[in-house]
């Protein structure tokens, strides 16, 4: 695998391979000294044009635990502010000798454009509304870990919220589907993509109608600017219809689990203190972020010697 840009590109086999590899990384992270020399001498640069806490920190931690060198590119202090183009920026960094770019950008397609300008690997850490493949890997791994199942056949995963503008939803719908789950999307029609009828999902406009048949409830963040764009009249109305409160939690089957990719909007989609949720996987999602991203970087960068390196990781 040269790049990780979308779940489609990764494919089902790639998805399963990375999830399996993540098990080894979890084991590494349990050691007293959670560090292995697998990527010694490799350089990973994180190129974040959008704010991020979890994704950027977990990638950097992942790289360091694999002994890769890391560079952090900060837009606010870079020559981008002097008008340097993205291409020139990428070519400049490439000239310094890097092995992977971890990229987040507000525009769809940037990881594909960057991969035309560098021979390094490109990892998509979120592009516009399009894809966030490592989040999907984190979520699939977290479900696997929580339910002890490798396949998701028979599971109903309900994704609630702003599907239209969500790269997490686009990656997760594909990934959950590849593993056999039934996916239900819940949102007002204004927050659904214009032609969702072609997606392998069921759609509901009413959260209360689908809670009883939900095994995994996946809440998405509603960005407050959606209100000013007229997608919803106001946040109160959204919270009433789609927010998770105690009454809705009570309607879920007892075995159901709750997920959220963060950051949460308390008082909007999350009307209940998440620490009081009986079956929340939200902390597991964050915790697994490092292991999953170690697996991704290892898979992309360990290269020819990956089998030997894997032994090293597992030892």
């Amino acid at each position: 695998m040269k790049h990780l840009r979308s779940i489609d590109e990764l494919g089902r086999d790639g998805l399963v391979r990375l999830l399996d590899l993540t098990n080894h990384m979890v084991e590494v992270n349990r050691r007293p000294v959670p560090k292995v020399p697998a990527l010694r001498g490799r350089t990973v640069v994180s190129l974040f044009f959008e704010d991020s806490t979890r994704t950027r920190l977990s990638f950097e931690t992942a790289a360091k635990r694999l002994s890769a060198d890391t560079m952090t590119f900060s837009v606010s202090t870079s020559s981008v502010n002097k008008g340097e183009s993205l291409r020139d920026t990428v070519e400049t960094i490439t000239d310094m000798g890097v092995d992977a770019f971890v990229v987040r950008h507000k525009s769809t397609g940037i990881p594909w454009q960057i991969s035309n300008w560098t021979n390094a690997s490109v990892v998509n850490a979120g592009d516009g509304w399009h894809q966030h493949p490592t989040q999907a890997l984190v979520d699939c791994f977290t479900v696997r870990e929580a339910l002890g199942k490798e396949r998701f056949d028979g599971l109903t995963i309900t994704i609630v919220g702003d599907i239209k503008h969500s790269r997490v939803a686009r990656s997760n719908v594909t990934a959950f589907n590849m593993l056999g789950a039934k996916v239900v999307l819940v949102a007002p029609p204004t927050l659904l993509p214009p032609d969702v009828s072609h997606w392998p999902v069921e759609v509901s406009y009413k959260l209360d109608d689908v809670l009883e048949s939900t095994d995994i409830l996946y809440m998405l963040r509603l960005q407050s600017e959606r209100m000013s764009q007229g997608h919803v009249p106001n946040l109160r109305e959204y919270a009433e219809s789609y927010g998770l409160d105690a009454a809705r939690v009570a309607k879920l089957p007892p075995h159901a689990v709750i997920m959220h990719p963060g950051p949460m909007n308390r008082g909007v989609e999350m009307l209940i203190d998440p620490s009081s949720l009986p079956n929340s996987l939200i902390h597991r999602q964050v915790a697994n972020g490092v292991s999953v991203r170690m697996a991704v970087l290892f898979d992309l960068l360990a290269g020819e010697s990956s089998a030997a390196n894997l032994a090293q990781v597992a030892s």
Partner: protein, 435 residues
């Protein structure tokens, strides 16, 4: 410029020998003699001081593009009137209507005169400036249309923007009717296309790209048809892109309204799925649409609902097209590939091709005195000679345009311009620009 066609001697008689002459009267084999900038004789066994064998080729009135962005003044990094004229000549054009979204915009006599003079200085095609409908193309107040009309402007448009305000458009039509000019509309209800990158479709749903819905075009086509019905003004629809737009124009023409329409080569040949490559060269406004729209546009052009093939030639420098999809400017090159795309994808006879690429656009632009005329003695020698069967591959580095943003890179096209004659002189000879 390896092969030099000498044209310096004014009294020289050039004969295009053995070609198929195609004009409004159909096809026939004939030699065409040119002298002093005019067609002087059409017949058999003609000879001159210079004889050019054009057997196997079509000899037709030079192409007229209703829609060329020549970028001068203001964005000479992308194109100049000279480089755009040369690209036009290589594409078989003898006249280009220059779109007004220059900087400053073509909303004053000074800018109109400048554009026309630069066109004359280049001397490769007739550069026909269009005028803005509104000052600065801002959609707020009418441009001095009467002054511009007095300076020779026959076609008015805010291209790049549609005129959003209904009252202002009504006024423009009423005023334009009094001046006998044509109003050309870029149909886009902008509130429906904010931030749009590509057609609103299944593909944009998956790519997470903001969609440009067909209805944003169709609403304005409908509105302007009804305003034309109300005011009696002549209205031309620029770059139609949807099946429903074609239906609306077809119905308007059935009602006898004075409306005309154009379609671009790219909307006839490329569909929305091209955007899945994230290559900004495929970003264009209006966006590439569905196969269903493409079929309807081809049928509209075939049955006469759509009058003209127009390029919407929109050069952009490399650095602009290397921006993200949502940041990159829309637009693609068209002048040098229009004939090849048309012959490759359209199933029309040569007479109809000449009608939509020369005769009709010349009429809509108000330049039928010099362009789109039948090939007969007395007509200005503005001619194209093309081989309808020659195939060639589009190589950006061989384009005359200053920019390289062609969506047809590497594509094999059928139909190649061999010579272009402008005012009796070869601007292009054996495919090479002469100046």
């Amino acid at each position: 410029m390896t092969k030099q066609a000498t044209t310096g001697n004014a009294s020289q008689r050039t004969v295009l020998k053995g070609g198929t002459v195609v004009d409004s009267r159909g096809e026939r084999t004939a030699d065409v003699a040119i002298e002093d900038g005019l067609v002087v004789e059409v017949g058999s066994s003609l000879s001159g001081s210079r004889n050019v064998d054009v057997s196997g080729c079509v000899v037709a009135p030079g192409f007229v593009d209703l829609h060329a962005h020549l970028r001068e003044p203001g964005k000479e990094e992308a194109e100049t009137i000279e480089t755009g004229s040369r690209a036009g000549a290589k594409g078989g054009y003898t006249a280009l209507v220059a779109m007004p979204n220059t900087d400053p915009a073509q909303d004053s006599v000074a800018v109109i005169d400048f554009v026309r003079e630069q066109g004359k200085r280049a001397g490769l095609v007739d550069v026909v400036p269009s005028g803005c409908i509104t000052l600065g193309r801002k959609g707020e107040a009418l441009a001095p249309m009467a002054e511009l009309a007095a300076a020779g402007v026959r076609i008015f448009t805010d291209d790049g923007n549609g005129v959003q305000d209904e009252l202002l458009m009504r006024r423009a039509m009423e005023y334009g009717k009094g001046l006998g000019v044509t109003l050309a509309q870029h149909c886009e209800v902008s509130s429906l296309t904010k931030g749009a990158v590509m057609n609103e479709c299944q593909c944009c749903t998956s790519l997470g790209l903001p969609g440009w819905p067909s209805i944003a075009e169709e609403l304005m086509v409908f509105r302007d048809i009804e305003l034309a019905r109300l005011t009696g003004a002549r209205v031309h629809f620029l770059h139609l892109s949807t099946a429903r737009s074609v239906e609306l124009v077809r119905a308007a023409k059935r009602d006898g309204l004075p409306v005309t329409a154009e379609v671009t080569p790219h909307h006839l040949s490329l569909d929305e799925t091209k955007l899945a490559t994230f290559d900004t060269v495929f970003k264009v406004n209006p966006p590439l649409r569905s196969p269903n729209d493409i079929a309807a546009l081809r049928e509209g052009l075939r049955d006469g609902t759509i009058d003209a093939l127009a390029t919407d030639h929109a050069p952009h420098p490399r650095r602009d097209k290397e921006l993200a999809l949502d940041q990159a400017p829309p637009g693609m090159l068209g002048l040098e590939t229009a004939l090849g795309v048309a012959l490759s994808v359209l199933n029309v006879d040569l007479t109809h091709l000449v009608r939509v690429m020369s005769i009709n656009p010349a009429r809509i632009a108000g330049i039928s005195d010099r362009h789109g005329r039948d090939v007969q003695p007395g007509a200005p020698a503005n001619l194209v000679v093309f081989d309808p069967n020659a195939t060639w591959q589009v190589e950006p580095e061989h384009l005359a345009s200053k920019s390289r943003n062609t969506p047809f890179v590497g594509m094999k096209l059928r139909g190649k311009v061999r010579h272009t004659v402008f005012d009796g002189e070869f601007t292009v000879f054996e495919g090479d620009a002469q100046r």
